[in-house]
Point group: C2
Amino acid sequence: MSSASVPAPLGGEATYADRSVAVLREMILDGSLAPGERLNEVHISQALGISRGPLREALRRLASEGLVRLVPHRGAFVPAFGPGQLTELYELRIALETHAARLVAELDDRTGVDDLVRALDDAAALLDRQDSSAYPTDQDFHGTLLRLAANSALSEAAASVSARISLARSRSASQPVRAREALTEHRAVLAAIVAGDADEAARLLRLHLHHSLENALSLLDAPA
Amino acid sequence: MSSASVPAPLGGEATYADRSVAVLREMILDGSLAPGERLNEVHISQALGISRGPLREALRRLASEGLVRLVPHRGAFVPAFGPGQLTELYELRIALETHAARLVAELDDRTGVDDLVRALDDAAALLDRQDSSAYPTDQDFHGTLLRLAANSALSEAAASVSARISLARSRSASQPVRAREALTEHRAVLAAIVAGDADEAARLLRLHLHHSLENALSLLDAPA
DNA sequence: CAACTCTCAACTGTTGACAGTTGACACGTG
DNA sequence: CACGTGTCAACTGTCAACAGTTGAGAGTTG
């Protein structure tokens, strides 16, 4: 382990297990715990200043999110995703998000959609003015779409998948410069939603995510 | 190939937690543990002849499957699903399965699909000959479709959703007589898949699952 | 008599110790 | 020298006991 691990305060009001989940998830996603690394229960519990019980519970919960892989009698590992698994995860994401887009397109109340349209217009203006290659609202767009679908089961599943994809992509942390393309595609999807064309919205979003997958795969093959 | 996994008698070599998960899942799905019921750690662990540690792990794992609801400092409950949640779950199922159908329709290797066609033909013949109102292959059809999609992440997500739907429908255990309609719709979906028409396959499957949802909802409102 | 407070039993959260398993290293054998 | 074997440290799985929280009911007060 990248053992620096300050015996973090871990202070708050939730249970130790809850807080451990949060701390470990953060460490896994930001690379403090590298893919392939083994998570030693004794070391980590001592580093967190708790006993093995709550830590084990945290590890099991992370395993159910797919951020940790448990091997009986061997322990917990941070999974290392290959191109095949990244593709599987993207296909799953496509399944979830395209259906969310379909649900939103068939929604009666359009206020949420209108807000999203405005947000994307603002982002477009910002991107045109200053050459900021960053497109911080990418995750926002997908997150908002899920939220508008108003299906908590769907949202939770999508969140789980997104976390795993983040982990799979974590090695290539350098956000690509697909900002403009992504924004353009987002606006196209949104236009179809506004028009109430569920099929077209789903089709465009599927296309967009396939582009994103291609991008992610190319970055995966070319490690820094 | 050490673990060619002979399905051990479940009392054999898995950990206590593993076995507890299996036992409890069974009890929840077959109604031994009714929705709304509270799961007392002490009582259950004594009934299973183990200590609270492994049982707690089992409960957390079931919670991650959605078959148990954990309330901090209050304990574990078997969730009681209302019409709204059942609808959410079905929408999630639709998202997953329609995408699976799409993937299968775009598959090159058609041998698996051909097998499924034959299986449905057999089922149809059987259903015509004897007036057996049961259509045992309903779950088989959906399960096979998922398997053919060859995406383990997708399959696992679908399995989790199916388990929750089973729980939500468990009160109305009497399988409805939608056998013929279901089979007809299955064959229509499959025909589209054979034709390689992903859009149409997805559309028909979405329709089929919406019918199934309507049926489930009507049974939910009218308790025996 | 309603509402509020206090007390307590039951239960979950947590801990530290014990038991069984695994993988690796050293050793002996062909 | 390759290979099987024995041994062992490290680690996970499990247990029983301790600590903190919750909800309910007895008791009290206006």
